[in-house]
Amino acid sequence: MTDSKTADTETADLETFREQTRAWLEANCPPEMRKPATCDADVFWGGRNTKFASEPQRVWFERMRDKGWTVPDWPKEYGGGGLSAAEHKVLRAEMAKIGARPPLSSFGIWMLGPALLKYGNEAQKKEHLPKIAAGLIRWCQGYSEPNAGSDLASLQTRAESDGDDYVITGSKIWTSYANYADWIFCLVRTDAAAKKHDGISFILFDMTSKGVTTKPILLISGYSPFCETFFDGVRVPKSHVVGTVNRGWDVAKYLLQHERAMISGMGERGVGRPLGQVAADSVGADAQGRLDDSMLRGKIASFDVDEAALAACAERAVDLAKAGQAHPAFSSAMKYYGTELNKRRYEILMSAGGVDALEWESERSRQGARPRAWLRTKANSIEGGTTEVMLGIVAKRILDLPGA
């Protein structure tokens, strides 16, 4: 409720921006891109070997890219849109209003970019950020190892110094889309003698480097979004280390906050038809138009309450961060809740779908899209830090409980 002139001017500018943005989106977002992607092939991930799934997908991506709006809040010099926090919020709200999907999905945008902006040197930012923004390079994340899951800092992939290079040997697991990725951001041990958090470095390298191999892992969903990734003497210039050598854990943790924020977003997808109406397709409705399964209806309504509340909390988390009032560990809180909520969503969808949701292979079921998605969600509360690890972080870092 400030009445200062500058605040009024800012509000007026923001309203102008909103109107312009709305008009631009209306003119430029193809109708096909105004509904959620129905399967993974329908999502554009970019990269050297990428192909567009459809013409509207290409058009939408290119128009947004040309405005810098694949990464609206990154600085313009790195290919971003240079929007202020308030403008970015307006853009997101306007996109949500018409159901516009993100033009580009990318671990480069969600995870590596923020870490590079904070910890990268100028040369690294200039080299990598514009290619992420333009969807030219697709990234994957080399974090977990067979013996370093929840206890990530015990990772053993080693990088040995050899002149101007490191020689990297070891293996990673659960590397999402490693078989499609062009580059990897990877945690490696550069000092075997140091305490486990202190000898880790954060390094970038090309997946076509000699000695890199990937092997997809077949999951319960029947898909293979994750890989095992092997490094056999991979030679990487030392200049590819982000931040300080042996201080990679700082970068890793910072990036994890962004990863958790990204995964928590899965719990709040206010686009598309309300869950209750989706359920009505299979369950039917009574004379008053109420879902003809009162127990299921109650579960859906409770879910809707929690989903709307989580959406408000996600919005508030962004606002708090912008106001400098956010707790750095809050993304763990959101990650825990968002993933558990997404699992609830799919349990409801399976229950609502009944027998129809059990078909695994048919045109009618789009090759079992729903049961496969349901099974995929079970990983949400494991990947990027399990629910139990998240609750431990909240207990220790936010609540300051003893001995956690």
């Binding site: 809707d304 309450v305 509340a309 408000a312 909390c313 508030r316 009032q325 809180a333 001995g403 956690a404």
Partner: protein, 379 residues
């Protein structure tokens, strides 16, 4: 609008918190309860509240109020929730003031609003009739008689009912229970002939009453808003009240949570602080997240009310439903984690549990509001 408090709002919160925690900590409620205080709140403190501009916080400046919004009212309610302070703020300054501001004609506004602002008039909405909050089920009858109406029927959970100077009574002038059309709000003098008031001592030791109207005569000037068309006005006023109660529940939840966390950090068993046990840590962490999410939902609802009361219904339903389940969880965990101490009257934690139960019923519980959301979404 950003879902964080502005600088002015933070200052308002700080001054309210300072005043309330200093003058009306939980022991204040305990004293009022133990003394069976006939008023049920501190009149002296209510006057300081008025002097601070809080009593007329929502009242437009032309009627002597502060002309602030629902986010600001929520800030005060949240602080009230932290110490469980009994105060006419909810019934008079939030609900009745909103009803008069939104529904009153010029004469009604200039008669009552300045008195609400200066703390000299207490007013309250009489809505519930059955055991549960069902506004459309209103069946208290108002029949035309001469130039006015005669009101007959009973109301329950009338907050501050035994001390109010003015009742705003929801009545049925047409149609039958369950219908939207035919509802009318009336301004009724509690001292009018035919009004019987029974103060009900509640589990939370806060003020409430049952009132009975037997052929109470009111003139045509006593209609607030339009005859038969009171539902829309009532919806808005109730939603404003719900946003306020939800804020109180956020304050209450957070306070009980903070007290519980302190207990986990000080109580030792098996040679350890009990806060070291992972079973308790994870439950505490879950509760923390619940409270944060609820706080955001409530703030969203208050901002929506500030934007346009008529369009805030779904956001309010989400907020009140969440506030109910979160407060219920917070007080249950609070008592459980305090162990045997949590069961004693001497410990304050039980006061929070009792108040949370009343707040949950006030203007619709979590089930009611979850149902409203389902209907709004068409399933």
């Amino acid at each position: 609008m950003a879902l964080v408090l502005t600088e002015e709002q933070s200052m308002l919160r700080d001054s309210a918190r300072g005043l309330i925690s200093d003058k009306a900590p939980v022991s204040h409620l305990r004293q009022l309860r133990d003394a069976k205080d006939p008023t049920g709140f501190s009149k002296e403190f209510w006057h300081s509240f008025a002097e601070m501009g809080f009593a007329g916080l929502l009242v437009p400046e032309e009627f002597g109020g502060s002309g602030l919004g629902f986010v600001e009212a929520g800030i005060i309610m949240e602080e009230i929730g932290r110490t469980l302070m009994p105060s006419p703020f909810f019934a008079t300054s939030v609900v009745a003031a909103s009803a008069l501001t939104r529904g009153g004609n010029a004469a009604q506004k200039s008669e009552y609003l300045p008195k609400i602002s200066n703390g000299s008039l207490l007013a309250t909405l009489a809505i519930d009739e059955g055991a549960k909050h069902r506004p459309l089920q209103t069946s208290l009858q108002a029949v035309r008689a001469g130039n006015g109406f005669k009101l007959s029927g009973a109301k329950a959970l009338v907050v501050d009912g035994h001390v109010a100077d003015l009742f705003i009574v929801a009545a049925r002038t047409a149609g039958s229970a369950g219908e939207r059309d035919g509802l009318t709000l009336f301004l009724v003098n509690p001292k009018a002939k035919g009004v019987a008031i029974e103060r009900t001592i509640m589990v939370d030791a806060h003020n409430a009453a049952r009132i009975e109207l037997a052929n109470v005569e009111v003139n045509a000037d006593s209609v607030l808003g339009e005859v038969d068309q009171g539902a829309a006005l009532l919806d808005g006023v109730l939603d404003i009240g719900r946003g306020a109660v939800a804020s109180e529940m956020v304050g209450l939840s957070e306070e009980v949570f903070n007290r519980t966390i302190e207990y986990l950090k000080s109580r030792k068993q098996f040679g350890k602080l009990i806060g070291e046990f992972q079973a308790l840590q994870h439950r505490a962490a879950e509760l923390y997240v619940d409270i944060e999410i609820t706080r955001a939902a409530v703030m969203k609802a208050l901002q929506a009310l500030d934007g346009d009361v008529a369009k805030a219904a779904s956001a309010v339903a989400v907020a009140k439903a969440r506030a109910g389940t979160t407060a219920t969880r917070a007080v249950q965990e609070g008592v459980q984690m305090h162990g045997g101490m949590g069961m004693t009257d001497q410990f304050d934690i039980g006061f929070f549990m009792k108040r949370a139960r009343v707040c949950e019923e006030l203007f619709g519980d979590a089930n009611y509001h979850t149902e409203q959301l389902a209907r709004a979404r068409g399933y």
